[in-house]
Point group: D2
């Protein structure tokens, strides 16, 4: 392998640049050429390739977002789109890919490899942490810390005014972000898709605490909570306990940005190195991840089909710590 390319795809995550940097420098270290593809599969189809060297990624490790940008590509879902992407890669002499993203990205890469034989090694770049094959995804630790800093600020005002705040954090299918936000933020209750706590149970719990003359509360709600988002839950609680002064904060997209944390820079760097060395060792259709502090390569078929379960003991922690 003489020349590889790297791209980011799906939602951006802090640490993506640290991973790109590691990919580039590892390629340089091993004497192979490396290109960046702008805007993921969309740029691959259009041929938006940029030659990268060691200096191209200087001073990027601390930057949020992705210098290669990200975009969705409907066209790559079609055979015709993938054919165009393949032609672009061939024309540019690119023999292997590092794809930084999530399962949507890896699904595309799997299909692409089956049809055209271009090998891809994946890097788990998503704040959601819901990828099988790695303990943590790139961006997760930063997103949690960002949300937690916001909750620390909200607690100031919740305490000052004896209020009940419903704080919605990201996490479409899982409570990975919500759990440490709740435990670290000293929240009384956490609502996540995995446990399906009913709004009635939330109301009961708040009423009990209110009677014990607790007057300020934080309830962390995961975005993908089936019982409804933070506004819906707050509305129903307000109806049931009118004397409660409720407020809602949706932390939202600020969780995606910002300088990556130390842990995310380490993880992104480890995985970026591993992805390139995996490609050089002939791997394909696998994602590089860290499980129990050890590097592992997991087939895309497993990252896509297997579910990473949340540690059930965390729910018990919320219960004990809000005693």
């Amino acid at each position: 392998m003489k020349r590889i390319a790297v791209f980011t795809s799906g939602g951006d995550a802090p640490g993506m640049n640290a991973c790109i940097r590691a990919v580039v420098r590892t390629a340089v270290y091993h004497g192979i050429e490396v290109y960046g593809i702008m805007r993921g599969y969309s740029g691959m189809i259009k041929g938006e390739f940029v030659r990268l060297d060691s200096a191209s990624v200087a001073n990027t490790i601390q930057k949020g977002g992705t210098i290669l940008k990200s975009a969705r590509s409907q066209k790559f879902m079609t055979k015709e789109g993938r054919q165009q992407a393949f032609d672009q890669l061939v024309n540019n002499g690119i023999e292997g890919l590092v794809a930084i993203g999530g399962n949507g990205t890896f699904t595309g890469a799997t299909l692409f490899e089956q049809e055209f034989g271009i090998p891809t090694v994946g890097a788990p770049g998503t704040i959601d942490n819901d990828l099988f094959g790695t303990d943590y995804t790139i961006g997760y630790d930063t997103a949690v810390n960002t949300a937690l800093e916001a909750i620390d600020k909200i607690r100031d005002t919740a305490d000052s005014h004896d209020r009940c705040f419903f704080v919605e954090v990201m996490g479409r299918d899982s409570g990975y972000i919500a759990i440490p936000c709740a435990i670290g933020g000293g929240a009384e209750i956490v609502m996540i898709p995995e446990t399906q706590m009913s709004t009635e149970a939330v109301i009961d719990s708040l009423q009990n605490s209110w009677r014990r003359s607790k007057t300020s509360f934080i309830v962390v709600v995961a975005e993908g909570e089936e019982e409804g988002n933070a506004h819906t839950v707050a509305q129903r609680v307000k109806e049931a306990i009118p004397e409660l002064d409720t407020r809602v904060t949706i932390i939202g997209h600020i969780q995606r940005g910002g300088a990556p944390s130390a842990a995310d820079r380490m993880l992104a760097s480890q995985i970026g190195i591993a992805a390139v060395e995996g490609l050089l060792n002939g791997m394909r259709n696998v994602m590089a991840g860290i499980v129990d502090r050890k590097l592992v390569y997991t087939p895309f078929s497993d990252t896509i089909n297997k579910k990473k379960l949340i540690n059930q003991s965390f729910m018990r922690m919320v219960e004990i710590l809000s005693v």
Copy 2:
């Protein structure tokens, strides 16, 4: 004057604790006793008084929120409520008050002084900065910095995805928070109550930029914008320019919390000292403020009735800087 009391009222603001601390220590310095009243006028009526000394406020200067808590009091709006409050003050030997809050607080204090003769000196504690009689209010600088840090994170993801973000910041009646957020956040457009920019003008401006192939945008919207809040504006823009990938972030209550900035600690400390020394010098019904770096006392009637106008040159700055 042998004994005074201090309380916070209205929305909490970072730096209120620094101001309480300055009030307490200035009282101690001048050899007078000082009490804290919990929950503003509500606690005054109920007699929730706490003796404070120098040690009570140790390690509070950096804390967000207010250690004396804040609450609204319907009862203080009634003659009967104010009578009860006066009785409580008399019973506790309190001869003067420092009220940290905004115009609602000062209106109550004015009435209270007229009826019962208890002197109050006010301190401008509100993130909104819309108080005549001081260049900056306590909490404003911190709130702006908090919002700006959020916008910095949003810019990461706006750039990575070529998106248009509508970011709503606090400011019910004015653009004081929105303006520095827009200028400091590198926003293309700012919508504030003072200028009544139409949504059509926003659409025009975005369309123009889009045609010049600019692809990511930040539009800062003040909460009290008459054209509607960020969601409404974003909705109408999306209808007019469907190819624009729009997103909305409401920064919300996190702007109220957090450790106060250096400027807010300085301002809160200066004003806390000035409030006590004003009381000792026989002042009443005035707010201590800093105008052009000099201490001034402004009658409550002026802080309530006069409007502090936003510097019009700031709108021109947004225009020049987004060229």
Copy 3:
């Protein structure tokens, strides 16, 4: 067991309060009484005990330092001192201890248990991360992030002025803090006790880069580096490469303070719960830790005598990433 006590000892670390909070609430949850001992063994000898309940630790999870304070005790090194400590515990009806600290603390606890039979379960509270029996110690993640934020700021000025900065981070016996600071901070070189890189090698490396017209550098130096501290190394480099504009920054004690990171709050909470539940299950002379995301109890004799080795692959990472 009806009543236990918790104390912090040794250097303070962010997350100690989160751990104290978890200890207190777990005790309450299990229906046992809990006391805090001020100033570690010193306060134990003097009988500085404070009754704690759930509310005592409200709003402490985000606080740096330790609300129970910490101190060294020469007296506890003597049999007489330990006898006094034992008498105080007996007089206060305390049957078990949770000690948050490092190996010095655990050594004392072991001796104490052998002589007087009071069981202790330890919690690894130190920013240094050099404790066998846990992947990470409480405070480590925060300290690394604090140092890294400082390095991010230093890089701004290093780049602007084409300078070579020698940044000294904490870590008396190991490079645990220095390694992620170097990788995450984009440093060119890291000097840690474990590898004993000579100053000559540093000079060689800088000279090579200088010749390739690289002009700004960051060298991370662990405090306990045998070749000398940052000032010594910088001095010798300056003598060898006079054209290099060198500067030194000792990050120092700021690494010990600040709000704990999300990871440290989680870890501290998990370990605090585990420590109390370990005591209740009859454990003694063990430290609660998390290894590969699983809770483990390690005998104090192992935490004291076994060495936790740094991952050698990290040194290779620094080499690849600074290519």
Copy 4:
């Protein structure tokens, strides 16, 4: 005037990039061309000119350091050097300069204008705030906040261990940085060049507090303090009060870096606009500044020769607030 150039000189300061950005966009707004000169006068002599347009400064407002870099130039001190610089400007068609820096920079510009007639308008870019002609310099507010955040962390550990910390902040000739750090950081004592407090007075004050059983202290020392730096003072205090557990932290170069605060971005933007519009209006040998919230242009001869005095009431504040 058809073409101007901008450069940064002297120590870097947060907000320099925001100022460069404002200069560039104001030039574009007024239809004139703008170049960046790398490395100040040094790059001017060597002809390191870069054409800048609106996009060149996109996404720079939040960045620390200076994208144009800064350097000292011995050569510009010579007539020959200035002749070369002039030739370069003439060859590149540059008719006016915006110099972002301090008095060293302005002294050079004055001489340059006298000899060669090239007009310069200055922008006060230095963290030190010791420039006559502006209430605040670009970078000052950020530097103070950075130092204060460090002191907040140090207070955690000072309190936990009952220690006395001597914290040295920047400020070679003045206490501008030290004063708000002391007031905002809740320090007991501040030592600044302007007041020449003797170390004996510091010892007296600490001994008095120690006797009143205060056990943790923060003493803020300005870098340029005549009585010696933090290490010297700490050493002498330790000798006089051996029971005090003293520690020293030099905050150092981290004060120069980091994302500029909201106030610094506003100030830098205002001044950048004013500098260009000043040049276009025929000004020369003046610095644009903000005094009492109004734009003023001050002759370089005044910024260099007049001294901006520190507000003496601030010293009284430290005394009252540490009561």
